[in-house]
Amino acid sequence: MARLEIDGISKHFGASRVLEPLSLCVENGEFLVILGPSGCGKSTLLRIVAGLIEASSGELRLDGQRIDDLAPAERDVAMVFQNYALYPHMSVRDNIGFPLRVAGVSHTETAARVAETARTLGLDALLERKPAALSGGQMQRVALGRALIRRPRLFLFDEPLSNLDAKLRDELRHEIGALHSLTQTTTLYVTHDQVEAMTLGSRIALLEGGRLHQVGRPLEVFSRPATSFVAAFLGSPPMNLLRGEVRSGAFELGGSRITGAPVESGEVVLGLRPHEVEFGSSGAAARVEGVERLGHQTLARLSIGAQHAVVCREDLESLAPGQTVHLCFAPRAAHWFDARDGRRL
C-alpha cells in the first residue's frame, strides 16, 4: 500500500498540449478512477505514473519519495493493459511468473506464488495453455495475475475491460473490486465507462481535454457535478443541459419562468437529470418527438424550442409523438452552470 501524489504533472507533444498541469492524490489503499472520454489524457497520465513516458513538468511521489526519475521497474508498480499485453510465446504459468523470474526470485518461491495467484483468479486449470488458447476474459485474468503476483505498492489499470463483451465486463469488474477489497492495494484505474467508475471507485477524477474537472466520491460527483461537462458525462441517459437567459432572477424556458437560478441575470445552463423531470399541467412546454419503451421504463425525446431534452419515467404508457407536455421538477433537481465556462453556479 502506498500514497501517490501527482503534483503539477503536465504533458505536451511539441505544440500539442495533452495534459494541463494537474495535481491529484491517491490515498493509501484507495481505488481512484480516472474517467473521461477518448483523447482526454487519462492514459497519458497513467503512463506517466508507470514511467512509460516522461512528464513535461511536475513531480510524482510514492509514499513521499520522488519516483518520476526512476525506471518503470524501479517504481514498484504493476500495470494491466487494455490489450492484455500477454507474452504470446509463454504459457499462462510463465506469463504470471515472469516478473518474479526477472526479479531473480527462486524457482520454488515463484512456483508457489504462481500457484497461489492462479488459485485466487481461478486459473489453475489453464496454467499450461498459451494466450492464443484463452478467451478474452481469461487473458485479462492472466494479466491481472501477472500484476498481482508482484505485490506492488501501486496498481495501474488502463481500460482493462474495454475489449470484453458486456457479460464478461460485469463479471471481471466485480472480480477487480473483490481483489481490491482483498489486497487493499492503492489503485489508479483509467476508464471511459461511467459504470466502472461509479461501481469501482472510492473516488472519481473526471478529465476532459487534459483538464481535471472534478474529484470526489462517485455519488457526490453524480449529485453535485462541478461543471456542465461532468453533468453531461455521468448518468445514462445523460443530464439535459438547457441553455437560456436569466432575467430578474427567473430562467425563461418553453414559455415558462423558472425561479431558483443563483444569478439575477445573464446566460446560464440549466441541468436536469432525465429521471428527475415529471409531466404536469403547467411548466415549460415541450413537444414529444419520440417515445422509446425499454420495458422497465420509457424514454421521451422532447423538443423545447430549438433545444432537446430526454425524460425518463416508468409511467409514460399513454405518451405519443406530437403531444405537447409541460415539464415540472423539484427545485433541488435543478443544476445551474455558467454558460461561458460551464462551472457550477
Binding site: 503512463r47 508507470a50 514511467g51 512509460l52 525506471a71 518503470p72 521497474a73 508498480v77 504493476a78 500495470m79 493493459f81 487494455q82 490489450n83 492484455y84 499485453a85 507474452y87 504470446p88 510465446h89 515472469f98 516478473p99 526477472v102 526479479a103 501477472r146 508482484r150
Partner: protein, 273 residues
C-alpha cells in the same frame, strides 16, 4: 477450364522451369565420364554411373575437412548474423535515441556499396590484424552486423510487435537487453529462420571471400574445392556436377525443412511498413 486447373498448370510450369537445372545437373552427374553436357536422360536407364560421386569426392581432396571448414564458417556466420542484426534491428525499432532514423538511413545506404569496392581496404585491414588465412575475415563481418538488409528485416519485424508487450516487459522489470532476449527474439522465429537461411546460403556458397583470404589447403572450403574442377583442358563435367550436387544438397534440405517459417518471415518483411 476452371481457374483452379489453370493455377495448377501455371504452378507445374514454374516448378518445372526451376527444377530443370537441378535435374540437368543430376543427369550429367550420372553419365559416363567423357559424355559431356550432351547426354540424354534416356541413356541413364541402362547406363547410369553413380560411382561418379565417389570419384568426385576423391578429386575434391580431404572432403571431411572441407566440409568441416565450411560448416564452421557457416555456423559462426549464422550465429553472428542473427545475434548482431537482431540486436541492431531491435534498437532501430524499439529504442528511441537522437539521430536514430538518420543512422538507420545511413546503414541502409551501405547496401548500395558493392562488396568488391571495399575488398582491397578490407583485405589490408585483415592483413594488418594478422587474420589473413584464417576464418576470421569470413566470419567477422557477419558477427559485426555487416548485413544492413538483415538489420532492415529485423527492424521491420520488431515494428510489428505490439508496443504494449515491450511496455509490459519494462514494468515487469526488464531492460532492453532482456526484452530483446526474452520477448522480441522468441517472437521473431520466422525472421530468425529467414535470415538464417539467407546467411546459410551466402556463407555456404561463398566463393569470393575464401578465394581472397584462404591460402592453405587445410583451410579450404567446399566452394573453393568445387572451383578446382574447372580446368582449361581436362574438366570432367560429370564429376564436377556430382560434386556440385553434393555441395548443393544441404541447401535444399535446409530450405525444405524450414520452408514454412521462411515464407512467413518473407511475407512479414514484404507487407509491413
Amino acid at each position: 477450364m476452371s481457374a483452379r486447373v489453370l493455377r495448377w498448370v501455371a504452378l507445374v510450369v514454374c516448378a518445372s522451369l526451376f527444377a530443370l537445372p537441378l535435374v540437368y545437373m543430376l543427369s550429367v552427374s550420372l553419365h559416363r565420364e567423357g559424355t559431356g553436357l550432351g547426354g540424354s536422360l534416356a541413356d541413364l536407364a541402362h547406363d547410369a554411373h553413380p560411382e561418379n560421386y565417389g570419384v568426385a569426392l576423391e578429386k575434391m581432396g580431404d572432403f571431411p575437412r572441407l566440409l568441416a571448414n565450411t560448416v564452421v564458417v557457416t555456423v559462426l556466420s549464422i550465429a553472428g548474423q542473427l545475434l548482431t542484426c537482431s540486436l541492431a534491428g531491435y534498437a532501430f525499432a524499439r529504442i528511441e535515441f537522437r539521430g536514430r532514423d538518420a543512422l538507420f538511413v545511413a546503414v541502409l545506404a551501405t547496401m548500395m556499396l558493392p562488396e568488391q569496392v571495399s575488398a582491397i581496404p578490407r583485405f589490408l585491414v585483415f592483413r594488418s590484424l594478422g587474420m589473413v588465412d584464417t576464418f576470421a575475415p569470413l566470419v567477422l563481418p557477419a558477427v559485426l552486423g555487416g548485413a544492413p538488409f538483415f538489420i532492415f528485416l529485423f527492424r521491420q519485424y520488431f515494428l510489428t510487435l505490439p508496443a504494449e508487450l515491450t511496455e509490459a516487459a519494462r514494468i515487469d522489470g526488464c531492460g532492453h537487453l532482456r526484452i530483446w532476449w526474452s520477448i522480441a527474439l522468441p517472437l521473431a522465429r520466422p525472421m530468425l529462420v529467414t535470415v538464417g537461411i539467407f546467411t546459410f546460403l551466402a556463407a555456404w556458397n561463398d566463393f569470393w571471400s575464401p578465394l581472397v583470404y584462404l591460402f592453405s589447403p587445410e583451410r579450404s572450403t567446399l566452394s573453393l574445392a568445387l572451383a578446382s574442377f574447372n580446368r582449361t583442358y581436362d574438366t570432367a563435367v560429370e564429376h564436377m556436377m556430382a560434386a556440385s550436387a553434393v555441395v548443393l544438397a544441404p541447401c535444399l534440405i535446409v530450405y525444405f525443412v524450414a520452408q514454412k517459417l521462411f515464407l512467413r518471415g518473407v511475407q512479414v518483411a514484404a507487407s509491413k511498413h
